[in-house]
């Protein structure tokens, strides 16, 4: 059994030397991906292997997600997701990329389909996902909400 911590080690092959840099390479790749995701998809800087925790108020739990059902008469109604969909909501909130927002929309459609008892004043036609980010003024801590991302998805025909 090859072992850790043996001093009399065999001649060191070039590939072994290259492989020894794998952990550092993984860390650097992780940080690079983190920076790309923050820039391209507004990933929360706290997450994603960039070591941005305890550095910014843009923590994922500080982002506010609003799901709004758009009705045929022009009115809107906010939707609250049940616990079973919360994991998808948290991931989309942390990384509001197109892929995760579509998954969140799909989860919302599933929740709507599972709730036929909801009485809509008019026909639901679309779902809008808004993610807001809170920031705070220096000295006064006056909050300000900025819209991070907004997407609208037409409801599948069988959910209307």
């Amino acid at each position: 059994m090859l072992r850790l911590g043996v001093t009399d080690y065999p001649p060191y092959a070039r590939w072994q030397k290259a492989l020894s840099w794998l952990p550092v390479a993984l860390l650097l790749a992780g940080v690079t991906n983190h920076l790309w995701q923050v820039h391209k998809h507004q990933l929360s800087p706290w997450l994603g292997a960039g070591f941005g925790m305890f550095a910014t108020t843009d923590v994922d739990s500080a982002r506010q997600v609003y799901l709004t059902v758009l009705l045929a008469d022009g009115k809107e109604r906010e939707l609250a997701l049940a616990e079973e969909y919360r994991d998808t909501l948290k991931r989309a909130r942390a990384l509001p990329s197109d892929a995760w927002l579509q998954r969140l929309a799909a989860a919302a459609f599933e929740a709507l389909e599972a709730s036929p008892e909801i009485a809509w004043p008019a026909l639901p036609v679309a779902l809008r996902i808004d993610i807001w980010r809170l920031s705070y003024q220096a000295e006064t801590l006056e909050p300000n909400a900025g819209l991070l991302v907004s997407r609208t998805y037409p409801l599948p025909a069988d959910d209307r």
Binding site: M1, G5, L27, F54, A55, Q64, R91, L95, L134, L141
Partner: protein, 285 residues
């Protein structure tokens, strides 16, 4: 004896890593039992901590956990996977020098990026981050009440104000109380201390180990862990850093004992709500 001492640091680091995985179980139900059993086996069975297969399995499991939790995993979940990979590579190649180098660079780079994130953040250096964190994050409640005289009721009111719905852009009326000078001072001190300490640790671990600053790296890392994790409720991160740190530590007598002392201290920090006990003792609630 020198060989034994070096081997002991690697053994100690590997075993502390196993202990970290037992103290802070990771993964969902389909991963956690495997990690726990492997970690326990690494501690219980003789030289199993040296096994390439053990560390390969743990590297894969910790990496899988980070991937499955994407993007929600904490940053030390990734660092844990990198470190298990380093242990696996070292077990495969039987090279302790590369393991020590990986430990040093992983710690140095982690702190370097953490410090850079703080430096480049729009709301760190102006103390906004710590001011809002102390009012919003309930993990710091007891600490804030203890040190600043802010009451629990004031923190609850602040939280309601800071997290309200401001989509309409309505002008807020302001914090429901005046922030005390002690809270402002605590935020300032936390801002400066965390940035300074992380810059120093990063530099100490990234410069040549034989340099003057390099020789201070163990003391700086241990000090960081003693202070930071008394307040920040992320002991698992601290345990991981200490496990890595001891592997690359200086050969001077007693250095590894400081790592062990810090590891033990973090157990008490994790298990004992010392700030709450003091709040109760002084009748501050």
């Amino acid at each position: 004896m020198a060989h034994l001492e070096i081997t002991d640091r690697v053994a100690l680091g590997a075993r502390l890593t196993c202990l970290t995985l037992l103290f802070a179980p990771i993964g969902d139900w389909y991963l956690q039992p495997f990690v726990l059993v492997l970690s326990a086996a690494g501690l219980l069975f003789g030289d199993l901590w040296r096994s390439r297969w053990l560390w390969l399995a743990l590297a894969l499991l910790t990496g899988l956990r980070a991937a499955l939790d994407w993007p929600l995993a904490d940053n030390h979940a990734y660092l844990l996977a990198y470190w298990c990979t380093a242990l696996a590579v070292a077990a495969w190649s039987e090279n302790k020098a590369d393991l020590a180098r990986n430990a040093r660079l992983l710690i140095g780079l982690t702190f370097a990026f953490a410090a850079w994130q703080k430096w480049s953040s729009p709301n760190y250096l102006n103390d906004v981050f710590f001011l809002t964190t102390f009012l919003l994050d309930d993990r710091f409640e007891d600490f804030v009440v203890l040190l600043t005289g802010t009451s629990y009721e004031q923190i609850d009111a602040a939280r309601d104000y800071l997290e309200a719905d401001y989509r309409s852009g309505a002008s807020p009326v302001g914090l429901p109380f005046e922030t005390s000078w002690s809270l402002l001072l605590l935020a300032r001190a936390s801002t400066l201390w965390n940035l300074l300490d992380q810059v120093l640790v990063a530099a100490a671990f990234l410069v040549p180990p034989a340099s003057r600053l390099g020789r201070m790296r163990d003391a700086l890392l241990v000090l960081f862990c003693f202070i930071t994790y008394a307040v920040a409720p992320v002991a698992s991160f601290g345990w991981l850093l200490l496990s890595m740190g001891v592997v690359q530590s200086e050969r001077a007598n007693g250095v590894h004992l400081w790592y062990l002392a810090a590891f033990a201290a973090l157990v008490f920090y994790d298990q004992v709500s010392w700030a709450w006990l003091l709040v109760e003792a002084f009748g501050l609630e």
